[in-house]
Amino acid sequence: MNELSDKESVGELIQYIVIRLGEEQFGIDIRFVDNIVRMQQITRVPKVQHYLKGVINIRGEIVPVMSLRLIMDMNADEITGKSRIIIVKMSNGNLVGLIVDQVDHVLTLDSNNVENVRRGEDRRHGEFLSGVGKYEGGLVSILDLNTLELESLESRDKDREKQLLATE
């Protein structure tokens, strides 16, 4: 009986917005998504990291926009009619926009079907993922928004610089 109920038990159901970067699919926890907007004029801010594309105006608020592709060391964005900016709410309540190639659909996943990814695990983009979700359509990598906080991005940049210096 016990075994059966364990198997049958349903974990927490979480909805994810599934987005595409090239051929890859990523899931963003819908609870952190404030808004999804079409591509618009981004005001460039000089002297900032290359993945920071600039700022946009969301309901009168200045919101920084980052390129997920550039953060993950993929090719630069090609802006198409399907490109979107996902406005996510970070842990401190600040809004940040993420440029994605396209938004696929909303996916509901049982937390039992999400496999945790350990930090440092050798997996493509592993450092930005909190887990991998399984569903009929295949696998979806769940983005860990914490890794997109300014502090963690900066410390990553610093580590890279050090590595660069070391290899030189």
Partner: protein, 711 residues
């Protein structure tokens, strides 16, 4: 009476009155005979007392009352202002402030009675007058207790509060023992009546025919002399019924109304006893208590009774308040009426725009021209509306700084160092949230200056400085920042001493200390738990000052810096962004991008031909009316490609930073615009040249250049 809705107003006004009292008492200290000042103080104290009473804050009212008495004596010339008195008064103000603070947190004044201050205040008065004052004091207290009570009193018939002497009491007893009816009556004579005394006489005469007038108020003599207003009261013993009494009185012409009823000796006696201490009017609600508000009930009774009533009432009231779960006091901004008028006008315009839009939309199709026109109009209105609302949030910093003179005065006494505070720029406006937060850091810095900065007078004289130390606070707007400088002409910061202390405390190693610049060492002062005061004192030196200042200022996105010269003093400089401030800016284009340059940093705009540019130390400069001005090509600083042809004339915006100036080369000028500054957020704040952003009329974002960082 539910006074909860007035709590906000009460708190606001109390704070204002307290501030006014503080200011005026300080003036009084300098100029003890300033009559205007004394009157002003008296007025403020009186209003404060009245307000506290109305709101039912008995303890606060009581304390204010004692303070008011002192002022009243001063005003009457019976008391002289002296140092001790001022000190006591300040203590009293602090206690009142504590009440107000507590009320704003818990909506309750608490139970502290500040008996010591009350005693000190009475001692001051006792200096000139003995026990005689006591009685009148109580009378006043009760009379002023609660306007509500007084109101209630005036509604109650006056005969119920008639004062009885022993003779009257015994005659009433005798009369009732004889089986007579005892009635009380209050007669109101018509306003138009010319011969009041005659009418009153007729009333008495008529009543004497059916019974006996035991007592009247005013006395029969006074009534005969017409020494009464439009009404008088009396107690009658008669064998007739109450209707008969009324009939007799009404029989006299020019009588407006009569209030008549059974006279209950016991009830009236207790009321009358109360009236021994209190004026008749105020005591009335004891009788009419069931109809009067509970607050008035406690207020009107003489003090010993009041306390009982109150202690009984307190827990109930507290319980009630908690149960109701009222939210804490809402934060408010006092708004200049002009600003509101502008808002009102804008809203009217908005409605007009909406209506025009509706009519344009419903009229013949194809008329998109007028729709567009209306939309443009709508846009401009909403933009203005937005800006106006932002302006409403801006308050001058004097709401914070006005406390400081008093603080320095207290420190002056506590430390025994003469010092003076000068303040400028208190009208500098900042967002309400920033102003609220900045008070504590400023206070810390001023205390620091007073305690650590200013030397003892002997030391100052030895150093050839005037005995009185100077402390200053200057506030001014500098571009998108508000700068507040706090400093003194004291001993300055001894970097060597700081270093030694830092090494002692293990903050740095001696080797590190050797390697550090003077500036870096002084920067150590901002470390938590660092204080150089040789003696830990009340004023500062608990080592919680500067690090708190720094973290607070940084949490407001500002920065704090210090300039110091040993022996000459130090200045702390706080720079704060004026979040949501509105500034005038020059909009320019550089490489196709739009930027805003704050207008107040711009000196002049020049048209410069390429051949005017000279090279000095490999840097481009121009000779601007005799002064060599370096050129900064904005397109290079901002990493964009200028789209101006190489050899054409250049538009150069000359900006000033302190005593330096520089020319910013732009592509094109767009014009002047009033812009709302928005913070860029931490992700994009890395670029030092950009101090913020603004949203243009078309929804696009333009970045605001920080010319200070560029020059």
């Amino acid at each position: 009476m539910d006074v909860g809705q007035y709590l906000g107003v009460f708190l606001d006004e109390s704070k204002e009155h307290l501030q006014g009292l503080n200011d005026n008492i300080m003036t009084l200290e300098q100029d003890p005979t300033n009559e205007d000042c004394i009157n002003e103080i008296f007025r403020a104290a009186h209003s404060l007392k009245g307000m506290a009473g109305t709101m039912g804050f008995k303890r606060m009212q009581e304390l204010t009352h004692h303070m008011e008495d002192v002022f009243s004596d001063v005003r009457a010339g019976q008391l002289k202002v002296n140092g001790d008195m001022i000190d006591t008064l300040f203590k009293c103000l602090d206690a009142l402030q504590a009440y107000v603070d507590l009320i704003s947190e818990t909506q309750d004044e608490g139970t502290e009675e500040y008996a010591d201050i009350v005693k000190a205040l009475s001692d001051i008065r006792a200096g000139k007058s003995g026990g005689g004052a006591q009685a009148s004091e109580k009378t006043e207290a009760a009379a002023d207790a609660a306007p509500a009570a007084a109101d209630a009193a005036s509604d109650a018939p006056a005969w119920k509060t008639i004062k009885l002497d022993n003779n009257a009491k015994s005659s009433i007893k005798d009369a009732s023992e004889q089986g007579k009816n005892i009635f009380g009556a209050t007669v109101n004579i018509q306003e138009s009546c010319i011969l009041k005394a005659a009418r009153a006489f007729l009333v008495f005469k008529g009543l004497e025919e059916i019974g006996e007038v035991i007592l009247s108020e005013p006395s029969t003599q006074d009534i005969e002399d017409e020494k009464f207003d439009l009404s008088f009261s009396m107690v009658i013993a008669t064998e007739e019924s109450i209707d008969k009494v009324k009939e007799v009185i009404n029989h006299v012409s020019e009588i407006d109304s009569v209030d008549c009823g059974e006279f209950d000796l016991d009830a009236v006696t207790s009321a009358a006893e109360a009236a021994e201490a209190a004026e008749a009017a105020a005591a009335a609600p004891v009788e009419t208590a069931p109809v009067a508000a509970p607050a008035a009930q406690a207020a009107s009774a003489p003090q010993h009774e009041a306390k009982q009533a109150e202690s009984a009432k307190q827990p109930a009231a507290q319980g009630g308040k908690k149960a109701a779960g009222k939210p804490a006091i809402a934060r408010t901004v006092r708004v200049d009426i002009d600003k509101l008028d502008v808002l009102m006008n804008l809203v009217s315009e908005l409605i007009i725009a909406k209506n025009s839009l509706i009519s344009a939309a419903t009229s013949e199709k194809g008329d998109s021209g007028s729709v567009n026109e209306q939309i443009e109009y709508l846009e401009s209105v909403t933009t203005n509306l937005h800006e106006s609302v932002m302006k409403v949030r801006m308050v001058p910093i004097d709401s914070v700084t006005q406390k400081f003179p008093r603080m320095i005065r207290d420190l002056n006494r506590a430390l025994g160092k003469p010092m003076e505070l000068t303040m400028t720029g208190e009208d500098t406006e900042m967002d309400r949230t920033v102003v609220d937060e900045i008070g504590d850091p400023l206070m810390h810095l001023l205390r620091n200056s007073a305690d650590h900065g200013i030397e003892p007078p002997e030391e100052r004289v030895k150093a050839g400085k005037p005995e009185t130390g100077q402390i200053f606070l200057h506030a001014f707007q500098d571009g998108n920042n508000v700068v507040i400088e706090v400093g003194d002409d004291g001993r300055g910061i001894d970097a060597e001493a700081v270093k030694q202390r830092a090494i002692e405390r293990g903050v740095i190693t001696p080797e590190q200390g050797e390697a550090m610049s003077e500036k870096a060492i002084i920067g150590l002062l901002f470390n938590a738990g660092f204080s150089t005061a040789k003696v830990v004192s009340e004023i500062s030196g608990r080592g919680v000052g500067l690090d708190v200042v720094k973290s607070k200022v940084e949490s407001l996105n500002g920065e704090v810096d210090v300039r110091t010269k040993l022996g000459e003093g130090s200045t702390w400089i706080i720079r704060l962004p004026v979040t949501m401030a509105i500034i005038q800016a020059l909009m320019v284009k550089v490489g196709g991008e739009t930027y805003a340059i704050p207008l107040d940093s711009i000196q002049i705009i020049e048209d410069v031909a390429p051949d005017e540019i000279k090279l000095v130390q490999n840097k481009e400069v121009i000779n601007l009316r005799g002064s060599v001005t370096p050129l900064i090509r904005l397109s290079e600083s901002l990493d964009v490609q200028s789209n101006q042809p190489e050899n054409s004339n250049m538009v150069v915006v000359i900006v000033r930073k302190g005593d330096q100036q520089a020319g910013l080369v732009i592509d094109e000028m767009l014009g002047q615009l009033e812009i709302v500054i928005k913070p860029l957020g931490k992700y994009t704040s890395k670029c030092k040249f950009i101090s913020g952003a603004t949203i243009l009329g078309d929804g696009e974002i333009a970045l605001i250049l920080d010319t200070n960082a560029l020059v």
